[in-house]
């Protein structure tokens, strides 16, 4: 009987305690914010997003030297890098003053695949690729999530390709000439050992 009454008492008492707690909270300050009005990137937002938050990736093409390190580091293969060799003297140096060795003709990140792990940031030698705080980029079409960072137009690429082709052709020609010359020189030098060998 005592247990029975105690149970009833506990039931009522704990319910009242709970009601007291919720009643106090009824007048507490709200913790949620109205999202687009109070943006997490603004100071006004309740909990400001830190600057190192890992959201959409940005690649600075002025700095990118096309080393492909980020694409190799990516666990989901969402980065595609295509490059073209630079003809000496043709390209301006990178923003940090380094010599540009490759034209990046295509630098695409598929943000539908990206898992925001941040592994691509570390291997970058020029600190071109970084993660930004930009997080609002939803799209109706998955294709729109393919972000092309390379600013080179098709024409430019074509031009550069031609340039490279010319250059390589010239180089090949030069090399061939050089080789020829070398061979001629060799041929000129050749008889001696031949004679030496011949007999």
């Amino acid at each position: 009987m005592k247990k029975y009454l105690n149970n009833i008492w506990l039931g009522i008492y704990t319910v009242l305690i709970g009601m007291k707690i919720t009643f106090v909270h009824l007048f507490a300050k709200n913790v949620t914010v109205q999202y687009p009005n109070k943006h997490p990137l603004d100071k006004a937002g309740g909990d400001k997003m830190p600057m190192n938050a890992r959201n959409r990736i940005f690649n600075d093409m002025e700095l990118c030297n096309g080393c492909n390190g980020c694409a190799r580091a990516c666990p989901v293969n969402c980065i595609t890098v295509e490059t073209l060799k630079v003809v000496p003297g043709d390209a301006p140096p990178l923003k940090n003053g380094e010599k540009r060795g490759l034209w990046v003709t295509n630098y695409t990140i598929d943000f539908a695949k990206c898992c925001f792990c941040g592994l691509c940031i570390d291997p970058c030698p020029t600190e071109a690729i970084k993660m930004t705080t930009e997080f609002e980029y939803s799209q109706y079409d998955r294709g729109n999530l393919l972000y092309k960072f390379s600013k080179m137009t098709d024409e430019q690429i074509k031009q550069k390709k031609e340039l490279l082709a010319n250059f390589t052709a010239e180089k090949a020609k030069k090399e061939a000439e050089a080789k020829k010359a070398a061979e001629q020189a060799k041929a000129a030098e050749a008889p001696k050992p031949e004679t030496g060998d011949g007999k």
């Binding site: 709970g18 707690i21 190192n52 941040g118």
Partner: protein, 383 residues
């Protein structure tokens, strides 16, 4: 003397049949995409058959094609509630294989983050457990606090849920300057909320009635089923890898292993499993406070490593006390930069296997509570 006529009432005479109920994969309280095939006799559960694998992505196969650092984001997604704790045994294993000594500061930061994540995980566990019982308000109070913890993680790693923060040989980034004050503020907040939750939910008479003497799991059954973490500790067995096989700096701290002792019912019931989580949060707070005191703020957080992480040929099994139990990684290395095989011991996977055993004979509403008290994450069950 008149003869009383007794009505013979046999069960088999009633035209009754058992009902097979399909709980899930989409159901409010299966904590993800778990499907339970339940056989009901009225409201009484007579059989439970879990069907898992709806979230299966064969991460172990993926790992074979990945380099070692690339595996870490995948491991984050196993138990996505406590991603920091998941990464730890994995990186610990590779560091052990490669013989890397990591700086003291890194070890402390890892430890603090792991304990913070343990608190965050237990908050979710208790919150969803309350939600299963129908109490919605404590759920949001606990989530509010969890967000504060996640903010600290975000400040350090940049991610709120999936961090990729523990790297082989160190951390992805250093912590911010006010780290210590922020963590201590959170510890204070957690304690305050916990007091409220105890009054509002855990010691509420209705809640106690719901969870006491329900889903009793004896300690020997728990061991035989390989349960670990709060599930086995709720059965009164002090099995905690932080004490039993101390890794990292856990031997430097003073904390207790919480076990259930049948406070309101039988040892090993749902209440015990839940209250173990609740008190473990307090223990984690204690560890964090001690660690914050001892932690050096100066120093680098990353060890110099070769560009490609290539552990020597070998195999290792590392385990750590995840919030949900023993999380182990069996890493087989073949000397290249890609693992030969990574086998994970998913804590929830093992803990869930005990569900059919302990839920028979209870009411259907109890089945939901038992499932909630086991605290599974389907990302880890299905891997």
């Amino acid at each position: 003397m008149s003869e009383t006529k007794r009505i013979e009432f046999e069960y088999s005479q009633i035209d009754s049949e058992r009902m097979r109920l399909n709980v899930g994969p989409q159901h409010p309280s299966t904590h993800g995409v778990l499907r339970l095939e339940v056989e009901l006799d009225g409201e009484i559960v007579t059989e439970v058959v879990p069907h898992i694998g709806y979230l299966h992505r064969c991460f172990e196969k993926h790992c074979e094609k990945m380099t070692y650092p690339q595996v870490i984001p995948y491991i984050d997604r196993m138990d996505y509630i406590s991603a920091m704790n998941n990464e730890w045994p994995y990186v610990m294993g590779i560091e052990k294989l490669m013989g890397i000594e990591i700086p003291e500061k890194v070890e402390y930061i890892r430890l603090i983050f792991a304990e913070l994540n343990r608190i965050a995980n237990h908050q979710i566990a208790i919150a969803t457990f309350g939600l299963d019982a129908g109490a919605f308000t404590p759920f949001l109070y606990l989530f509010r606090d969890r967000e504060f913890i996640l903010s600290i993680f975000e400040k350090a790693s940049g991610g709120r849920l999936l961090y990729n923060y523990f790297w082989v040989g160190g951390l992805a980034a250093d912590v911010h300057k006010e780290f210590k004050q922020d963590v201590l503020a959170i510890v204070k907040q957690v304690r305050e909320t916990n007091k409220e939750i105890a009054d509002l939910l855990l010691y509420n008479k209705i809640f106690i009635e719901r969870v006491a003497n329900v889903g009793i799991l004896p300690a020997d059954v728990a061991i035989n089923y390989g349960c670990s973490g709060p599930v086995v500790r709720g059965s009164g067995l002090a099995f905690d890898l932080r004490k039993d096989a101390p890794y990292s700096f856990y031997d430097r701290f003073d904390f207790d292993v919480i076990t259930g002792h049948g406070e309101v019912g039988t040892v090993g019931d749902c209440f015990d499993r839940n209250i173990v989580r609740f008190h473990e949060m307090e223990q984690s707070c204690r560890i964090i406070e001690q660690a914050i005191e001892q932690m050096p703020m100066e120093g680098d957080v990353r060890e110099k490593l070769p560009k490609k992480i290539r552990p020597p040929k070998g195999e290792i099994y590392t385990k750590a006390e995840n919030p949900k139990g023993e999380l182990g990684f069996y890493i087989v290395s073949n000397g290249t930069d890609k693992p030969e095989r990574i086998k994970s011991r998913g804590t929830s996977f093992v803990n869930l296997s005990v569900l059919p055993e302990i839920s028979k004979g209870y009411l259907f509403a109890d089945l939901i509570m038992i499932l909630g008290s086991i605290d599974i994450v389907l990302g880890e069950v299905d891997r």
